[in-house]
C-alpha cells in the first residue's frame, strides 16, 4: 500500500526519470543532496552540542575571551570553497550534456507555443498542428522549439528534464530524449495570468510506430458529419464565429486564437487538464466558459439548448 | 552627501543607457537613429553645455577667493549656457515630433526620449538650483566666505555634464562609428 502510494507520488515528480537529460540532472541533484545534508548536519550538530555543553551556570566563571583564530578561519573559507568548486564543475558537465548548442540547420521536431492558457504544438516535418496534448516518439533525441504568443510561459515536464521559458519575441529550445512510453504530466511554470494554474501539460510518449500512426491519423481530415444534429453543429461552428478563433482541418475554420480542434474528441482531457473530454463537459464549457475556467480567452455565447447540443454533438464527433 | 546622491543618480542613468544600448542592437533602431539625429547641431549645443562646466569652475574658484562680483558673473554665464542647451534640446524634440518620432512610435523613440528627457530634467533642476544660488549671491549670502554651497552645487552640475558626455557618445557618436 505505502509503496504503491509512494510510486504514485513519484509519477509526476522529478524522481520519475524518463529521459537521459532528467537522469543527469537527477545525478547532480542527488550528489548535492548528500553534500548539503552533510553540511547541514555539521552546523546542526555543532549548534546542539555547543548549546548543551556551554549552557550558562549560576555563579560560573567568566569564560575565556577568545576573539579569533587564523587557522580556523582558513578552514571556514577553504572547506566550503572546495565543495562549491566541485559542484561547479559537475554542473558545467551536466549543462553541456543536457543543453548543448542548437545546430543552425536543423529544423525542430516539434514547435510548442504557449498561449494564455493553452499549448499549441506544430510538427513542421508533417505540417500538422494540434493543441494541449502533446505526442512525442520514444528513443529519439528531439529538438523542441519553444515560443510564446503573448506573455512568458514556461515548459516543464519533470520526468523529461529541464524546464525552459517561452518568451515572446525570442525562440528557446530543449533537447528531449524519452526512454519509456507513457503519459507524463507537467505544468506551465511561469506565472502568466489568471489561469496559470490550469496550463497543465500532458505529454504522450509513444513507440515510434504508434507515433507514426498517430501522425497519420492527425493529418487526416475529420469525418464529415453523419447525422442532422452534427450537421447543424458544424454549420453553427462555421457561422457563430467559433471558426474565427479555432481551426478544424478540412473545413473553413482556420482561426488561430484558440486551440486547434481537429480530432478534438480523440483527446483525453480538455482545457489543459481541468477535465476529461465528455459530452457533458463540452456542453458546460460552451454554456459558460468563464464559469469553468475564469479568465480564459473565450467569450460566453448566448446559445439556446438546441444549439449547444448540436455544437456538442459536432465537437464530440471529431475523433 | 552630494557625492552619494550623485553616485546613486549615476546608477539610475546607467540603467537608462543600458536600456538604450540594448535596443540599439536592432537594425531598425540603428536606421532611425542615423536618419533622424543631427550630430552637428546637437554637437554644438553640447559644447555649450560642456563649457558651462568650465564657467562653473571659474565661479567656484572665485567664490573661494572671495571675489563675489566675479562669482555672480560666472554663475549667470553658467545659467545662460544651460538655458541655451535646453533650447537646443527643445528644438530637436520639435523636429523629431514633426517627423512623427515620439515616445510611442518605436523603441528608438521610447528610449531616446526617456534617456535625453531624464537628462534634460536634471538640467532643469540644476538651473533651478543655480538660480537660487545666484539670488543668494546677489543677496549677499556669500560675502562672508567659507561657504561650501557653491562647491556642493558644483558636484551636481559637473555630474549633469558628465552624464551628457556619455549620453552624447552613445546616442549621437556611436552610430557614426559603426
Amino acid at each position: 500500500m505505502v509503496l504503491a502510494g509512494l510510486w504514485d507520488i513519484k509519477q509526476s515528480s522529478i524522481f520519475n526519470v524518463a529521459s537521459p537529460q532528467a537522469d543527469k540532472i537527477g545525478a547532480v541533484g542527488n550528489g548535492f543532496l548528500v553534500a548539503a545534508t552533510g553540511m547541514f548536519l555539521l552546523v546542526a550538530v555543532l549548534t546542539v552540542y555547543i548549546c548543551r555543553r556551554y549552557r550558562a551556570r549560576a555563579g560560573g566563571p567568566e569564560p575565556a575571551q577568545t576573539s579569533g583564530n587564523r587557522k580556523l578561519e582558513i578552514m571556514m573559507v577553504g572547506v566550503p570553497l572546495l565543495m562549491v568548486t566541485f559542484f561547479f564543475f559537475w554542473s558545467l558537465k551536466t549543462m553541456s550534456a543536457v543543453l548543448p548548442p542548437r545546430p543552425a540547420n536543423r529544423t525542430p521536431d516539434v514547435i510548442i507555443t504557449g498561449h494564455q492558457y493553452w499549448w499549441q504544438a506544430d510538427y513542421p516535418a508533417n505540417r500538422i498542428s494540434t493543441a494541449n496534448e502533446i505526442h512525442l516518439p520514444v528513443g529519439r533525441k528531439l529538438l523542441v522549439a519553444l515560443r510564446a504568443a503573448d506573455v512568458i510561459h514556461d515548459w516543464w515536464v519533470p520526468a523529461l528534464g529541464a524546464k525552459m521559458d517561452m518568451i515572446p519575441g525570442t525562440e528557446n529550445y530543449l533537447w528531449i530524449t524519452i526512454t519509456r512510453p507513457g503519459t507524463y504530466l507537467g505544468g506551465c511554470s511561469e506565472f502568466c495570468g489568471q489561469e496559470h494554474a490550469w496550463m497543465r501539460i500532458r505529454v504522450i510518449a509513444q513507440e515510434p510506430k504508434d507515433y507514426e500512426q498517430w501522425l497519420v491519423s492527425q493529418a487526416a481530415i475529420d469525418k464529415l458529419p453523419a447525422d442532422s444534429l452534427t450537421t447543424k453543429g458544424a454549420g453553427l461552428f462555421m457561422h457563430a464565429s467559433c471558426s474565427s478563433c479555432h481551426s478544424i482541418r478540412g473545413t473553413a475554420a482556420v482561426g488561430t486564437d484558440g486551440p486547434d480542434l481537429s480530432h478534438f474528441a480523440g483527446r483525453r482531457t480538455m482545457l489543459t487538464g481541468i477535465q476529461k473530454v465528455s459530452k457533458q463537459n463540452i456542453y458546460l464549457w460552451l454554456l459558460d466558459p468563464q464559469k469553468v475556467k475564469p479568465g480564459a480567452h473565450m467569450p460566453k455565447f448566448i446559445f439556446g439548448r438546441d444549439s449547444l447540443l448540436a455544437l456538442t454533438a459536432y465537437l464530440s464527433s471529431l475523433k | 552627501m552630494m557625492k552619494l546622491v550623485v553616485g546613486t543618480e549615476a546608477m539610475f542613468f546607467l540603467s537608462l543607457i543600458v536600456a538604450f544600448i540594448y535596443f540599439s542592437l536592432s537594425p531598425a533602431f540603428r536606421n532611425l537613429q542615423q536618419s533622424t539625429l543631427d550630430i552637428k547641431t546637437t554637437g554644438m549645443f553640447s559644447v555649450l553645455l560642456f563649457s558651462s562646466s568650465f564657467t562653473f569652475w571659474r565661479a567656484d574658484a572665485n567664490c573661494r577667493k572671495g571675489r563675489i562680483n566675479r562669482l555672480k558673473f560666472w554663475l549667470l554665464f553658467t545659467i545662460i549656457l544651460g538655458i541655451i542647451f535646453l533650447v537646443g534640446q527643445a528644438k530637436e524634440y520639435m523636429k523629431l515630433l514633426d517627423e512623427h518620432v515620439n515616445l510611442a512610435s518605436s523603441t528608438f523613440g521610447t528610449s531616446f526620449f526617456t534617456l535625453t528627457g531624464f537628462h534634460g530634467l536634471h538640467v532643469v533642476v540644476g538651473l533651478i538650483i543655480l538660480t537660487i544660488v545666484t539670488c543668494l549671491a546677489f543677496l549677499g549670502d556669500f560675502d562672508a566666505g567659507g561657504s561650501s554651497v557653491i562647491s556642493t552645487v558644483g558636484i551636481y552640475w559637473h555630474f549633469v555634464d558628465i552624464v551628457w558626455v556619455f549620453v552624447f557618445f552613445v546616442v549621437y557618436v556611436v552610430p557614426h562609428l559603426m
Binding site: 502510494g5 504514485d8 507520488i9 515528480s13 548535492f32 548539503a36 547541514f40 552546523v43 549548534t47 556551554y54 549552557r55 550558562a56 560560573g60 575571551q65 577568545t66 576573539s67 579569533g68 573559507v77 566550503p80 562549491v84 568548486t85 559542484f87 561547479f88 554542473s91 551536466t94 549543462m95 553541456s96 543536457v98 543543453l99 548548442p101 506573455v151 512568458i152 514556461d154 516543464w156 519533470p158 529541464a162 524546464k163 525552459m164 521559458d165 518568451i167 504530466l185 511561469e190 506565472f191 495570468g193 489561469e195 496559470h196 494554474a197 487538464g273 479568465g295 | 552627501m1 552619494l4 553616485g7 546613486t8 539610475f12 546607467l14 540603467s15 536592432s26 523613440g109 521610447t110 526620449f113
Partner: protein, 560 residues
C-alpha cells in the same frame, strides 16, 4: 592602564530638532517628530501593521490551497493576494523593520544624539509610509497589482493587466524607494561624521558596520528598480515600448533591470540582520564576537558579489550556457562568505556561557533554519538543478527559509533584545518562549513540506491544483502550519502592545550588554547622551564595567 575619562558631548549651539517639541502634544508630537528614536519606533509599528496585513492576505491563500480543486477564492483575487503579500512583506515589513532598528540604534551605538539630517530622516519615514498606503490604495481604485512581486513583462503591460493595480505598484514603490535611498544617504553620513571620539572604524559595532555596507548596497541597487519602474509607467501611461515585445520592446530587459535590483535587495534584507545577530551572540555567550574582521569583511564580500549574481533568477530564460556558468560561479561563491559568518557565530558561542533568553533562542534557531535556506539557495546556483526546480514551491520554500528563518528571526531576536531599551520594560520571557515554539514549529510545518511539493512538480503561484497523489496532504500540512504561525504572530503583537505598560521595569542594562546604547537610560532621554564612556574596543561598555579585563588591553597584549 588607567581608566579613561568620559567623553563629554558638547551642548549643541542650536537646540536639537527633537528637543523643540514638548512631550505633552500627543499625536501631533509624533507626526511632527524629527527625533530618531520616535521615527525608529514609527518604522517598527509600520512594519508590525503590515505584517498583519500581509499575513492575512497569505492566510486566505493558504485556505484556498488547503485542498485540491478548491473554489474558496477566484483566480483574480488569488493573484492579487499573493502579489500583495510578497510586495508587502519585502518592501513594507522587512525593510521598515530594518530601518526602524537602524534609525533608533545607529546613533545610540555610535554615541551620537541624532542622525546627521533629522528632517530628512522624517522625510524618509513618511515616504515609506505613504508608499505603502499608495500601494494599498489600489484595492479601492479598481484592483490590486496581480503580476507577482517581480511583476514580469509583458504581463505587467496594460494589455494584459488593465486594472490600475500595477500603476499603483510602480508609484508606491517609487515613493518608498525615494525614502529608502534618502535614509541610506543619511546613515552613511551619520556613521562617517557623528561617531564619538575614539570610535574608529575598527571599534564600530558589527551592526553599525552592516548598516553602513547596506546603505551603499541600497544606493547602488535601488536606481535600477526606479529606472525600471519609470520605464514601466511610461509604457503603461504614455504607450512607450520598453517591455512589450509586440512593438519591438523586450521582455527580458525588465528581468535584467529588476533582478539587478532584486538580488541585492534580498541581501539588503539580510545584512542588517546579520548585524543584529552579531550583537546578540556575543552578549548572550559572554564572549567577544569571534573573528570580527572576518565577519565584517564577509559582509563587504557579500555586498560586492551581490551585484554579480542577478542572472541566477533567469537560468531558465535561455541566455545560453556561457552566461549561465558565469553567474552560477558567482552565486556559488556567495555561499562562502555567508558560511564564514555562520561558523564565526558558532565559534562565538563555543566556550562561552550561554544564556537562553528568547532573543538568543531565535538566534540559535536561525543558525539551523538559515543554513537550510542557504543550502537550497546553493542548490539553485547549480544550474541543472535550477532548471528542474525554478518557479516551483521549492523556490517558495527557499525564500521563506531565508526571509523568515533568516531576516524575520533576526528582527524578532532584535525585538526581544532591544524592546527593554526602547520601552523601558521587558517582554515576558515566559510568553516569549511560547511564542518561540509556536512560531518555529509552525514555520517548519508550513515550509519544510514545500520543498517536497516543488520536487513533486507543483509550480508556484497556482490558485489551485489537480488532485495528484500526495499534493493534497502536503498542502494541508502547510496550511495548518500557516495557521499556527498566524496564532504565534498574534501572540507577539499582543505582547508588544501590553508590555509597554505592564512589563517588568528593565533598567538601563538588563542583559549585561556591551555597547553604548545600554549606557543611557531606558528609554533614552530626548538628548541621548551628555557623557559617553570612552571607546577603545567594540565592547566599550564591558570594558567600562570590567576595567581589569578590557578588550583593548588584551588585544594590545596579543599584538605585541
Amino acid at each position: 592602564m588607567s581608566r579613561l575619562e568620559h567623553i563629554r558631548i558638547p551642548e549643541p549651539e542650536k537646540p536639537l530638532p527633537g528637543l523643540t517639541i514638548s512631550s505633552d502634544q500627543g499625536l501631533i508630537q509624533w507626526l511632527s517628530s524629527v527625533d530618531h528614536k520616535q521615527i525608529g519606533i514609527m518604522y517598527l509599528w509600520l512594519s508590525v501593521l503590515f505584517i498583519l496585513v500581509g499575513g492575512i492576505e497569505i492566510l486566505l491563500v493558504r485556505i484556498q490551497l488547503a485542498v485540491p480543486n478548491n473554489h474558496f477564492l477566484n483566480p483574480e483575487v488569488f493573484n492579487q493576494l499573493f502579489t500583495m503579500h510578497g510586495t508587502t512583506m519585502i518592501f513594507f515589513v522587512l525593510a521598515p523593520a530594518i530601518f526602524g532598528f537602524a534609525t533608533y540604534f545607529v546613533p545610540l551605538m555610535i554615541g551620537a544624539n541624532d542622525m546627521a539630517f533629522p528632517r530628512m530622516n522624517a522625510f524618509s519615514f513618511w515616504c515609506t509610509l505613504f508608499g505603502g498606503l499608495l500601494l494599498y490604495f489600489s484595492y479601492l481604485a479598481g484592483g490590486a497589482p496581480d503580476a507577482g512581486w517581480f511583476n514580469y513583462a509583458p504581463l505587467n503591460q496594460f494589455s494584459y493587466s488593465s486594472s490600475p493595480g500595477i500603476d499603483y505598484y510602480c508609484s508606491g514603490l517609487l515613493l518608498a524607494g525615494i525614502g529608502t535611498v534618502s535614509a541610506s544617504v543619511n546613515f552613511i553620513v551619520t556613521i562617517f561624521r557623528l561617531r564619538v571620539d575614539g570610535m574608529g572604524l575598527k571599534q564600530m559595532p558589527v551592526f553599525v558596520w552592516m548598516i553602513l555596507i547596506n546603505s551603499f548596497l541600497i544606493l547602488a541597487a535601488f536606481p535600477s528598480l526606479n529606472a525600471a519602474l519609470v520605464m514601466l509607467l511610461l509604457d503603461r501611461e504614455l504607450h512607450a515600448h520598453f517591455f512589450n515585445p509586440g512593438n519591438g520592446g523586450s521582455a527580458l530587459l525588465w528581468q535584467h533591470l529588476f533582478w539587478l535590483f532584486g538580488h541585492p535587495e534580498v541581501y539588503i534584507l539580510i545584512l542588517p540582520v546579520f548585524g543584529i545577530f552579531s550583537e546578540v551572540f556575543p552578549v548572550f555567550s559572554r564572549k567577544p564576537i569571534f573573528g570580527y574582521g572576518f565577519v565584517v569583511a564577509s559582509g563587504v564580500a557579500i555586498a560586492l558579489l551581490a551585484f554579480g549574481v542577478w542572472v541566477h533568477h533567469m537560468f531558465a530564460t535561455g541566455l545560453g550556457n556561457t552566461v549561465n556558468n558565469f553567474f552560477a560561479a558567482s552565486s556559488l561563491l556567495i555561499g562562502v562568505p555567508t558560511g564564514v559568518k555562520i561558523f564565526n557565530w558558532l565559534a562565538t558561542m563555543y566556550g562561552g556561557s550561554i544564556r537562553f533568553s528568547v532573543a538568543m533562542l531565535f538566534a540559535i534557531a536561525f543558525l539551523v533554519e538559515f543554513t537550510i535556506g542557504g543550502l537550497t539557495g546553493i542548490s539553485f546556483a547549480i544550474v541543472p538543478i535550477d532548471w528542474q526546480l525554478t518557479d516551483t514551491y521549492y523556490v517558495v520554500a527557499h525564500l521563506h527559509y531565508v526571509f523568515i528563518g533568516g531576516s524575520l528571526f533576526g528582527l524578532i531576536s532584535g525585538i526581544f533584545y532591544w524592546y527593554p531599551k526602547i520601552s523601558g520594560r521587558m517582554l515576558s520571557e515566559k510568553m516569549g518562549r511560547w511564542f518561540f515554539w509556536l512560531f518555529v514549529i509552525g514555520f517548519n510545518l508550513t515550509f519544510l513540506v514545500q520543498h517536497a511539493l516543488g520536487a513533486m512538480g507543483m509550480p508556484r503561484r497556482v490558485y489551485t491544483y489537480p488532485d495528484l497523489p500526495g499534493w493534497g496532504i502536503l498542502n494541508m500540512i502547510s496550511s495548518l502550519g500557516g495557521g499556527l504561525m498566524g496564532i504565534a504572530v498574534c501572540l507577539l503583537v499582543y505582547m508588544l502592545f501590553t508590555s509597554r505598560k505592564t512589563g517588568q521595569i528593565a533598567g538601563s542594562d538588563p542583559w549585561d550588554a556591551n555597547t553604548l546604547e545600554w549606557t543611557t537610560t531606558s528609554p533614552p532621554p530626548l538628548k541621548n547622551f551628555n557623557l559617553v564612556i570612552p571607546v577603545r574596543s567594540t565592547r566599550p561598555f564591558r570594558d567600562w564595567k570590567r576595567p581589569d579585563d578590557t578588550d583593548w588591553a588584551r588585544e594590545g597584549v596579543n599584538n605585541e
